[in-house]
């Protein structure tokens, strides 16, 4: 099954959607399709009902956190310095990430094909974290989107019952984010590790002694 073909089929049928194939260089060669969130629902419902490959089964839904990362690459550039051609290191800074991603692994039970991997990206990691929910299309996304909301903080618009799934009501942070810091609310127990003992001591001091 060809992702290119699916892409062109979607583009022909869903006007205005922006699609991008994210290549996967690893031996698995499971390339994915990045969908803009405005058209994601239409694209997904087309994939489920209209496309030649009927993706009736949504296997896996998950979030990924891509924090903003600066990658500096050193390149040697030949430059004319004082009239002499010299090798000069030039540092090119590129920024990647800075968004949350939701990934859907879709299969076709009817035609026994797959996976077609859909990705959606939020605009940033703080307040514009809304993505359309695909639960109305696939019930199997129900708990998994709730989990992604719980652990990553992606807000799925249109989800029928978007509550925390694994953490308790009233928990504030999203533990699966890369920059998550454990709250200091454990009951520490002495262990073999000095580091833990130290933290325990600090914790007890902060709590006002034993």
């Amino acid at each position: 099954m060809n992702l290119e073909a699916i892409k062109s089929e979607i583009e022909a049928n869903v006007p205005g959607c922006r699609l991008e194939i994210i290549p996967n260089t690893s031996p698995s060669a499971q390339h994915s399709l990045l969908v803009d969130s405005a058209h994601a629902f239409t694209v997904a419902s087309f994939l489920r009902d209209g496309a030649s490959v009927r993706l009736d089964y949504c296997s896996n839904v998950t979030g990924i956190d891509w924090p903003l990362k600066e990658i500096s690459t050193k390149t040697k550039v030949k430059k004319l310095v004082d009239g002499v051609e010299k090798d000069v290191d030039e540092i090119v800074k590129t920024q990647t990430g800075g968004y949350l991603e939701a990934v859907y692994h879709l299969y076709s039970m009817e035609q026994r094909q797959g996976p077609v991997i859909l990705r959606m990206r939020t605009e940033d990691r703080t307040d514009r974290v809304h993505l359309p929910s695909l639960t109305p299309l696939w019930r199997s996304a129900d708990f998994q989107e709730r989990e992604a909301f719980d652990l990553f903080g992606i807000i799925f618009d249109g989800h029928p019952d978007l509550r925390r799934l694994l953490m308790w009501e009233g928990f504030v942070d999203h533990p699966m984010r890369r920059d998550y810091v454990d709250p200091d609310d454990y009951e520490y127990e002495p262990t073999a590790h000095d580091e833990v003992l130290k933290r325990a001591k600090e914790h007890q001091a902060a709590e006002g002694g034993l």
Binding site: E189, P190, T191, A192, H193
Partner: protein, 204 residues
């Protein structure tokens, strides 16, 4: 007829009731403290440190390379590497663990430490009666508590231990041969006139 399936089921339980008196296979229960299952060779629970010879401290195979500490998934191993070297069982000077603790309340018996150890120094024990009233100290085993002899290892995992012993003996023989070769080369070199640069370094 209503009740046929029920009667069939009743016959089955009756068969099992009487069968359990006749057929020993039906009763899988082992009356534990009096009766014990035969030791299964592959069984593992918590790691221990192997030592050669008779003195546990001197014969310890561990050279404190700390690979197991790094690889341990729940991070239950705690090693302090020695500053000096001590001769091991073969007499070769080696680093040794100044401290080697395993917190078996954290250990999950995954055997990864054993797999990654390049010196066959850490192996899995089969002793499971480890309950203690001291929840923290009692389950934190130190170097001495962990040290068990190679004979013990041979007793609990005979096949595996035999293979390890053979491999170690092989390695040692190779090392000896190498040493001998080196010594011979040295002797040969000593017989030959000394080279000036070597002398120079000595002088310095």
């Amino acid at each position: 007829m209503l009740g046929q399936g029920i009667l069939k089921g009743l016959a089955e339980t009756a068969r099992n009731f009487f069968g359990s008196y006749i057929n020993k296979d039906r009763l899988t229960t082992v009356q534990f403290p009096e009766e014990r299952l035969p030791q299964i060779e592959a069984t593992r629970d918590f790691p221990f440190l192997v030592y050669d010879g008779t003195d546990w401290d001197q014969g310890m195979r561990c050279v404190s390379c700390q690979i197991c500490e790094k690889e341990c998934p729940p991070k239950c191993i705690y090693i302090v590497k020695s500053a000096d070297k001590k001769p091991d069982a073969t007499g070769k000077p080696q680093f040794y663990p100044a401290r080697f603790d395993i917190d078996i309340s954290v250990c999950m018996s995954c055997q990864i430490c054993v797999e990654v150890c390049p010196f066959d120094a850490i192996k899995m024990d089969v002793d499971f009666e480890l309950s203690t009233t001291d929840r923290f100290g009692g389950l934190l085993l130190n170097k001495q508590q962990l040290a068990k002899s190679n004979e013990y290892y041979n007793k609990i995992h005979p096949t595996e231990a035999a293979a390890v012993d053979a491999a170690l003996a092989d390695e040692r023989a190779k090392a000896d041969a190498k040493l001998r070769q080196a010594a011979e080369a040295k002797a040969a070199a000593a017989a030959a006139p000394p080279t000036p640069p070597a002398e120079k370094t000595v002088v310095q």
